[in-house]
Amino acid sequence: MNNIQYKAVAAPSTDRQLFNAKFSHDGKLLIAGSYQGDLRRFELTEAEPTELTPFGNHHGWVQAFALHPTENLLISGDSWGKLQAHDYTQENPMPLWSLEDAHDGWIRSVAFSNTGEWFATCGMDQIVRIFQTKNGKLRHELKGHNADVYHVLIHPHDDSIVSADALGNVIHWDMKKNRPKRQFDASETFLAHRLQDVGGVQCMTWSPDGTTLLAGGTRPKNGATVQGIPILIGFSWETTERVFLKELGATSDCYCEDVAYHPRGFLMAVTSGTPGTGKIQFLDSQNLDTAEPLFLLSNLSNCHSLDVHPDGDMIAVTTTVRGSNGNGRKVDADGNYIGNTSPIQLLTPDSPMK
Amino acid sequence: MKASLSFFVLLLTCSLSEPLFAQQLHPVIDAQIEAATNKPIAPPSTDSEFVRRIYLDLVGQIPTSQEAEQFINDSSRAKRQTLIDKLLQDDRYSRRMSEAFNVMLMERRGEDPDWQAFLSHSFQGNIAWDQMVSSMVFPDEQNEQTRGSAYFLTKRLEKYGQNPTDFPGLARDIGRMFLGMDLACAQCHDHLFIDDYKQADFQGLFAFINNSFIRRDTDYPAIGMKPVKTKLAFNSVFEEGEFSTGPKLPGLDEIPIPEFVTGEEFATPPNKETKAPGVPKFNPLKFLAEQLPTQANDSFNLNAANRIWFLMMGRGIVHPLDLHHSDNPASHPELLQLMAEAFAAHDYDIKWLVREIALSATYQRTSMVTTGLDDAKPREYRLFHEKPMSAEQLMWSMITATGHLQHIPDTTNTSTSQTDEEQDQLPLGLEHIRADFLAAFANPPREPETEFAPSVRGALFVLNGPRVLDWLESRPDNLTAKLETLETGFATPLYLAVLSRKPTQEEADKFNQYIESQSDKSTAIKQAIWALLASNEFAINH
């Protein structure tokens, strides 16, 4: 695994900032939730990505969505608590069903079961919920977190449900008794600073063989304008013990925002710093102690999410616009107040990888 | 008054022949001060006032009661001059000056043993001020006794809080401390209302230090310099255009920056093994050391004289000390000029100037307000004006007043491990005492101690803090023990010990009656001592 090099090939963006960008299963679409009540899509079949019609009558931020493992179905949740299901391949997708108050407030994460028959959601109301995919009917409520639940994910082998919160508490749920079965300690990602709760688990993933659970975030140094060293913690799924902790940068690199395994087996992580440096790094998951990443791209601005194309090569990283911060009134040539956007960096390997 | 005036006229006509005032500055001081006002001038201080004041100013503490009493009872006419000369030779002179210059130059930013050694060595040897300044801006690493002078620069390059390295702050302080000019508000443009302070002045100073850095390869403070290749470019927020400057002192010539072929900038290249940074062939600080503290640099001379005047008189002839400009002129410009010239002519001999000021009638005036002096302003020097005491002066004075000096253990070589019992008790060593007094009375870092600003913190320390109260406990030969041996007549030894004078009849009656009337004399004695220690008369240098 030497000489891995990725290069940027395109960076589609639109008139609203975007959250996590994901590839459709056939690789032809790139989908992301926006900061104002809808989802955006880009078609990737041509040389230049082109934007399709937005969809989803959401409110606020559409941060959470997941794609059904087999069907062209997408479940999305917004920051007001609304949940919807759409066929995302339609030209003008209409909701298959819609739940206005699936959660009280911000839905942070959605994850499908392995067959897609049900899915899990979690959010600011500190509750994890299980719904039936076909009609949005509520099946379970899991209570046990004492903080905003940032992530929920399903084990690739046996549908175990795991959720992680803003305090760095990770719970493996007992589905028969609707309560926590085991807990993993990622509290190193959390700091109570002055009046603020800082950090928490920002991203999670499984190792391909399902034996290791990874949680990423920051080891916060201070709140307000957060600084901290981005960290990735690996837990043994079997024992809940920590098996590694990898630091991904300096205190100005702040958050490990997303992490994923490449089909070829190496680990990928993106970070978002303050001020705005974003980095993509690939790591040898067998040798995490090695200081040098297999690949490092550090000239991006804040990176917020990471997804791998089904063909196993292209990756999509949502970023932001350089220079998009600053105090006071910034206007364009016509005197209009300038907003912000989220270019999605599409990168492919420079040369075929072995 | 008239006599002084004619003396002054005589002096003026003679002043062009330099030997007269070159030896005796203090008559010139007095003549200048007196000639500048028509209003009444206060008489000389009493012996009690003088002995306390001169001890505080020259050795940083009040006299012991024996020293005070001896001086008061001495009938020789030249006793003030004799005392001045004696104190200037005292070991504690260098301690006092080190403390005072540490506060003035470092403004409570921190402590460092090498810096302390530099100050002690300088004042013990009466090293000239220009040499001290040279050492500070271009430290000599080879000289173990003085290399700590680098702390002046290195401490200011250390980051504090969330701030980046404060290069502008360092440039500003070189201007403030050594030229009497606070150019902070001239960084981005010419000063908005001080016409004399130009942006080019600030940037010229900045160009001396913006390539410096703190060396990390030594265990003493040391300053490094990167190769300087180009002039410093700067913009004004108000004026169009690009400007540039090399290192340049206000009013003096710009230092040309030599060109070197890349790879040949270093006289000694960096050493990767020892991590010693390279020594560049061109170091602006070397030129700063040559140009800054020189007779040709008027601002330097005026500032030096002004600061030493401030140490003795409590106010600069230019005040504030770092804001000398045409719209904030000296209260006595000619005096300042003459003092500056004389100081330079005497090779910047600090002890000489201190002595001259101490010998002047201006310094020796009483601080008591008598007829016609109600309206006396500090800048007139018709009266000696009260001065604050530094945390260090308060500390040494309280130790002396209570007779505690002999009881301070030498903790410099003891092990640091303590029993549980010891940890609960008040730590007795001098370093702990110092820490307590600094916590109670010193300003926070970077706030100059030039005005009288008493604090509630200090008052509570004296009222209820364990330290001062501990010194009131009876110990062999301390003040409490001595007073406990008496049956009557407490007031005189009490006043001599704490306030360096004899009590008036009313004061004696008050204190004697109080102590005599209490059944628990020991406790009463402590309250009496405390009352004087906590009094305004004690806390103020008058």
Partner: protein, 434 residues
């Protein structure tokens, strides 16, 4: 050429109010010296001073340092481009909504007055904080006092024996005399840091109260002797700090461990605890109490930050307002809650908001304030003020008037120089006054 950092990285000194205001000091004036005045500030027109002495109004000034986001608090714009994730919730005033992050405040909205049309000029902390605290007056060549020092001077300390201006804050305590500007150190703030009483506030056990009385009586005698023959300034300053120290000693119960019920009500957080001490100080009669909360400068991760910051403010703020109301104190205590600016509508690259003085909100209640007055408005996006914008000078006028001080005709007299107490180009906001 190497570039001097003077433009983009302006030295912090170039951003301070001293940049504009210290002409007098620079000209060698005695701005930082003492004001040797006894009793109530002689800097005020004497007739007015007499009148002020009789009133017992006080101020609780809640300073939210760093810039609370108006979009996540008083002026939400849900589901807009810049609105962020949160919903808005109705309040006890029909038609008025606040952010879902302040549910308790929504229930006392009818007791509050809020101006959502605040527009000020400074978008930096280092200069902005002092400017706002000083009411951003016109440059008169002096350093104007912070609002607390101004009130301490104009209204005096009252009968509590405590200092007139107490500052409850995290971090260091001590005497912060710089707040007083040209008024002199006597009108600075006594800061209580981390809820800790100043060190050495307790009379040692080895001293009886008789001992203490004796020693102070002797001390005062000695001071009288000394001051018979010396100028007053230094002596008065010393006497003042000793008097203040002793007043604090007598009121040391203010620093005792709080009642757990109070802690539960205000929240066991730094702000909750400090707000409780603030209430106790007000109850003890301190004229002006400032309570600080730090950590609001959410350039990065603004939304998660406000999600945890706002509820704690919400709890502490409503607790103190309701507490004062229950104790019948809201009719003579002016309560203000504000920052130095708001936060940008635009969401930056690290999901934060930057500084925004252009359009933000200030809340207040208490004496002289019209309850339920929600005035001022911004456009749909939250980018500009659409009503008559109000600068901080307007608020100083308003607050002085709420306290019974005629802001447009009262002046300080500084060394013979008359100085307006609030920006003469501004005026009181009548709609906020009862």
């Amino acid at each position: 050429m190497t570039q001097s950092p003077n433009n983009s990285e302006r030295h912090p000194l170039c951003n301070t109010a001293e940049h504009v205001f210290t002409r007098r000091q620079l000209l060698g004036g005695s701005a930082t010296g003492l004001i040797g005045l006894g009793g109530l500030g002689g800097l005020v027109n004497p007739l007015f001073a007499k009148e002020m002495k009789s009133k017992e109004k006080q101020v609780l000034f809640i300073w939210i340092d760093g810039g609370m986001s108006q979009l996540e608090s008083w002026d939400p714009k849900p589901n807009t481009q810049f609105g962020g994730p949160f919903r808005s919730i109705p309040t006890t005033i029909p038609g008025i909504h606040v952010s879902e992050l302040m549910p308790k405040t929504s229930q006392i909205m009818h007791k509050l007055a809020v101006d959502r049309g605040v527009s000020t000029f400074d978008n930096s902390h280092s200069a902005g904080v002092p400017r706002i605290n000083r009411g951003d007056p016109k440059d008169r060549g002096v350093i104007y006092p912070y609002f607390g020092s101004a009130v301490a001077n104009l209204m005096g300390p009252g009968n509590s024996g405590l200092p007139p201006y107490v500052w409850v804050k995290p971090g260091s305590g001590g005497f912060k005399y710089q707040d007083a500007g040209f008024l002199g150190p006597k009108f600075g703030a006594l800061a209580i840091g981390e809820g800790e009483p100043p060190p050495n506030i307790l009379l040692p056990e080895t001293l009886s109260s008789t001992n203490n009385a004796d020693r102070n009586s002797l001390r005062e005698f000695a001071n009288q002797q000394y001051s018979q023959k010396r100028p007053p300034k230094f002596s008065e300053a010393q006497n003042f700090v000793y008097d203040t120290a002793q007043a604090l000693m007598q009121k040391r119960s203010l620093f005792d461990n709080p009642d757990p019920k109070d802690v539960a009500r205000y929240g066991d957080t730094p702000l909750g605890r400090d707000m409780l001490i603030g209430r106790k100080m007000i109850e003890a009669g301190v004229r002006f109490v400032k309570v600080n909360s730090y950590g609001w400068d959410t350039h990065g991760d603004n939304f998660n930050a406000h999600a945890s910051l706002m509820p704690r403010f919400d709890q502490a703020f409503t607790a103190v307002v309701e507490d004062l109301d229950e104790r019948g104190m809201l009719d003579h205590v002016l309560v203000i809650a504000m920052s130095e600016f708001g936060r940008t509508p635009r969401i930056n690259g690290h999901i934060g908001r930057d500084h925004w003085p252009e359009a933000w909100s200030i809340a207040m209640t208490g004496t002289g304030i019209k309850q339920g007055a929600i005035i001022g408005s911004t456009n749909d996006d939250g980018t500009w003020v659409t009503s008559e914008p109000h600068d901080i000078g307007h608020f100083f006028h308003t607050w002085f008037n709420a306290l019974g001080i005629d802001s447009e005709h009262t002046e300080y007299i500084n060394d013979g120089q008359p100085l307006p107490i609030a920006d003469e180009e501004c005026s009181p906001i009548r709609e906020l006054l009862s």
